[in-house]
């Protein structure tokens, strides 16, 4: 087990490093000297400004942009490993500090959405599988298909249109009260639950078709007992996996949802930073998100191994 854990941690670290390298490459390869971008978008804030050579050189010196991209990257990496992610070009404040300041907002949104999603998924998935091919089942399947296909930003706009602008019972955007949390989390939760509902249903159906269930039925056990005590437990194992993966994809979803709802989280920070090419901040956010994603995947994998008796007792698999 330890060996596996170590191997996974190493893999996660590699993934995060690779992401940071990729991001850095992309940012260095972009059109327009980075210094020029800093001057125009951040220092002066006027798109039309024509910086002189002297200004560009000063900015390069002050922001540490002299030298080939490779060298700059390894300098960044070295600092990052020691916990110094540099300072934002925009605010001059440390990147790590700014990301941590916005963490609670994103965490709140993520956790609320996931909870809502689970609250929708489990009953829907169970009922759907229990009464397969009934009207209820098809309604659930329709819900699923619908919310997988709907673009989250569009759904968000529709919700705003109905609940904030026409009915005027919820705020349009922003942060600061429970009311502000409602629409963004519903947007995210519906998208997530669409996928997990389907998987819960199919996983439960597969389990219900298994031999030991048939045996339990033959033994005369009550249908509900079978459903909850035996089937659900085993069916939940892959579902845990999926919920874990969904939490990871949540991080992508938050960029859009936070932007639409003006939710001051890390997703919005990333989107804003990309727009002004705040390279240290972009790097910081991407690394952070990749790290979160990897950690969640790791936890899910570990819990999967812990939960699944087949894996636990069947050594050497996977």
């Amino acid at each position: 087990m330890m060996g596996y854990l170590l191997k996974r941690l190493l893999m996660a670290a590699l993934v995060v490093m690779a992401t940071s390298a990729l991001t850095f490459c992309m940012l260095s390869a972009s059109p327009g000297d980075t210094a020029e971008v800093i001057i125009k978008k951040i220092l002066v804030g006027e798109e039309e400004y024509s910086p002189t050579k002297q200004e560009i050189q000063t900015v390069k010196d002050v922001f540490g942009l002299n030298g080939p991209a490779i060298v700059l990257y390894f300098r960044w990496l070295w600092n990052a490993i020691h916990g110094d992610f540099g300072c934002s070009y925009v605010s001059g404040l440390p990147v790590l500090k700014e990301i941590v300041a916005r963490l609670p907002a994103t965490a709140l949104l993520a956790l609320t959405s996931t909870t809502l999603s689970v609250l929708i998924t489990i009953p829907l998935g169970v009922l759907s599988a229990a009464r397969q091919n009934s009207l209820l089942d098809y309604a659930c399947l329709a819900y699923s298909a619908f919310f997988i296909s709907i673009p989250s930003f569009w759904f968000a706009l529709i919700l705003i249109l109905i609940f904030s602008l026409y009915l005027d019972i919820l705020p349009v955007a922003g942060f600061g009260s429970l009311a502000h949390l409602v629409l963004p989390s519903i947007t995210l939760a519906t998208g997530m639950s669409a996928v997990t509902t389907r998987l819960t249903r199919s996983s439960l159906l597969e389990v219900l078709g298994q031999d030991y269930i048939t045996t339990a039925r033959a033994k005369g056990l009550n249908e509900n007992t079978i459903l909850y005590k035996h089937a659900l437990r085993n069916a939940l194992i892959p579902v845990v996996t999926i919920v874990g993966i969904q939490m990871g994809h949540l991080l992508s979803g938050t960029v859009i949802v936070e932007t639409v709802f003006g939710w001051p989280g890390i997703g919005k920070l990333l989107a804003d930073s990309i727009e002004v090419r705040d390279i240290p901040m972009i790097q910081g956010c991407v690394v952070f998100i990749a790290a979160m994603f990897s950690i969640v995947n790791l936890l899910v994998d570990v819990s999967y191994r812990l939960l699944d008796p087949r894996v636990k007792y069947g050594e050497g698999n996977a």
């Binding site: 220092l43 798109e47 404040l93 956790l111």
Partner: protein, 520 residues
């Protein structure tokens, strides 16, 4: 099962922590509501910092925490700020006399060393150094400070109005990198708190402000970057004052009870520039005039931009002191435009709606960028007007850094220039019209214009300068090396119980003033 319980407990804990954070924010706002005279402002940009040297407009123009040596009137004439007066000792030597007894928020008195410290800090930014051309700063005595510029620079005093040159006390709290996180200034409002999570700035009135105690007791500035949210926020009373609501909401909000909607012209101008004036159809001034006549500036301002622009027949906003009000400009006249094109040799020989000359079609691309919401609709409207006189145009929107790569000599670019980063005409006019001007990438060169601009730089008598710049504007419109379409208008929306607001076009977006008060 225990595992599940643990997860549920974790989730609940996180939710509780998150909600308490949120509740804290709500109760804080509730608390301040009990105190009288509080103004809540919805700000359009993200609040990413309060250090004047880095994010000048917020602490100076909006939060009113800091001030500058020089201030400007709405017509862009200069007036004393923290400096009572200034004089010129010689062509590059300026002496500023500071106001005595001005207190910082911590009670200390503002002296020349503080001014030197603030400005030197700002000069670390190379763009500020080029803007002010300051070579050296000398403290003569506690209330007298000298500036030496690199070359004779008549616009120098005006540059000191720039918000990043605001005066801030060295006692301000800074982080380990020297970035100010709690600014101590001389302005009418004191910094209280900056909540980075909700991007809200809390300020309170400064009783010892040198002008007069401000009418408001508290000021809260909340970042609401989404225009639609700003509109809803001011309607519902979440904020009392905001700026730049969506074009579509302007009409509706102005009809609403309890709200004031003001649309003010600024000195920011939408202009159409040519790739090059050499070896292209634009070499011929008749072609340039034709294009200028072809554009219906009024329709664009009223319809495409929903009234949030003012047609520009000159270069400088007519309400400004520096504007030459005797220029007629190019009124919408598509007939004349077609005539001029014909004179220049462009005729539609094959009757396909597009004019040709020497076998070549007049076909161009108009480039613009997405950052200003008015640009795209304006470009598309211009495209339609050009089509009307026989010029085929395609519109492409892209990041301005990419525009440089793709734009050709025969193409056009639509942009929004801040005519006056500082309230002096030299800044924009010289960069645009001088043959060596840094904006002048299209190769306009008129020796008379060059001479005038160079003289304007070195002439220190205001009346003489006005004469020079009037002449500059006249020639600029005659030669029309670039076309000015409209002036950007800012929309300010506030509750009708907010009184005393005076708009000043010197502002980058909008500027609050300490005379504002609440009358409920």
């Amino acid at each position: 099962m225990k595992f599940k319980a643990a997860i549920i407990a974790l989730v609940l804990a996180a939710l509780l922590i998150g909600c308490s954070q949120v509740e804290k924010g709500v109760s804080e706002v509730k608390e301040t509501k009990e105190v009288k005279e509080l103004l809540k402002v919805g700000e359009m940009w993200n609040i990413r910092g309060v250090d004047p040297a880095k994010r000048g407009t917020l602490p100076k123009e909006k939060a009113m925490i800091v001030e500058c040596l020089v201030e400007a009137n709405p017509d862009f004439t200069l007036k004393p700020g923290l400096a009572e007066s200034w004089e010129q000792i010689d062509a590059t030597h300026w002496r500023f006399h500071l106001r005595k007894g001005v207190k910082f928020h911590d009670g200390s008195v503002m002296k020349a060393e503080n001014v030197k410290w603030s400005i030197e800090r700002a000069l670390k930014d190379p763009t500020i150094k080029s803007l002010t051309k300051i070579k050296k700063i000398k403290v003569v005595d506690d209330y007298t400070i000298d500036f030496i510029t690199e070359e004779p620079y008549a616009a120098f005093p005006a540059t000191l109005e720039y918000s990043k040159l605001a005066i801030v006390s060295p006692n301000s709290e800074m982080d380990e990198n020297g970035v100010i996180i709690r600014p101590i200034g001389t302005g009418p409002f004191k910094f209280v708190k900056w909540d980075t999570a909700t991007e809200t700035l809390y300020l309170e009135g400064f009783d010892d402000y040198w002008k007069a105690k401000p009418n408001l007791d508290e000021l809260v500035i909340k970042a609401i970057p989404d225009p639609a949210s700003r509109a809803v926020a001011v309607e519902k009373g979440e904020v009392d004052f905001t700026c730049d609501v969506p074009y579509g909401d302007v009409e509706r909000l102005s009809k609403e009870e309890g709200l004031n909607v003001e649309i003010h012209s600024t000195a920011r101008v939408y202009q159409l520039t040519f790739g090059s004036l050499e070896g292209t159809p634009y070499e011929d001034v008749r072609v340039r005039k034709a294009i200028s006549y072809a554009i219906d500036r009024k329709a664009i301002a009223e319809k495409a931009l929903h009234g949030c622009a003012e047609p520009a027949y000159g270069i400088i906003l007519p309400t400004l002191w520096w504007a030459n009000k005797n220029i007629a400009g190019y009124e919408y006249n598509p007939e004349k435009a077609r005539e001029l094109l014909k004179e220049a040799g462009w005729v539609d020989t094959d009757k396909d709606g597009i004019v040709e000359k020497d076998g070549r079609e007049f076909s161009v691309t108009i480039y613009t960028y997405p950052q200003r919401p008015g640009l795209k609709p304006m470009a598309e409207a211009i495209q339609a007007y050009l089509k009307d006189i026989g010029i085929k145009a395609e519109v492409r929107v892209m990041d301005w850094s990419a525009i440089k790569k793709y734009m050709g000599k025969e193409d056009m670019k639509l942009s929004a220039y801040h005519l006056t980063m500082v309230p002096d005409p030299d800044y924009y006019l010289r960069k645009t019209y001088h043959s060596d001007g840094s904006y002048n990438s299209w190769g306009y060169s008129n020796p008379e214009m060059d001479r005038l601009l160079e003289e304007g730089l070195k002439t220190f008598d205001l009346k003489e300068r006005k004469k020079i710049y009037d002449e500059v504007q006249k020639i600029a419109i005659e030669d029309v090396p670039l076309i000015h379409v409209a002036f950007y208008k800012v929309v300010v929306v506030y509750k009708d119980y907010v009184k005393g607001f005076e708009f000043n076009p010197v502002a980058h977006d909008y500027m609050l003033n300490p005379e504002i008060y609440i009358e409920k």
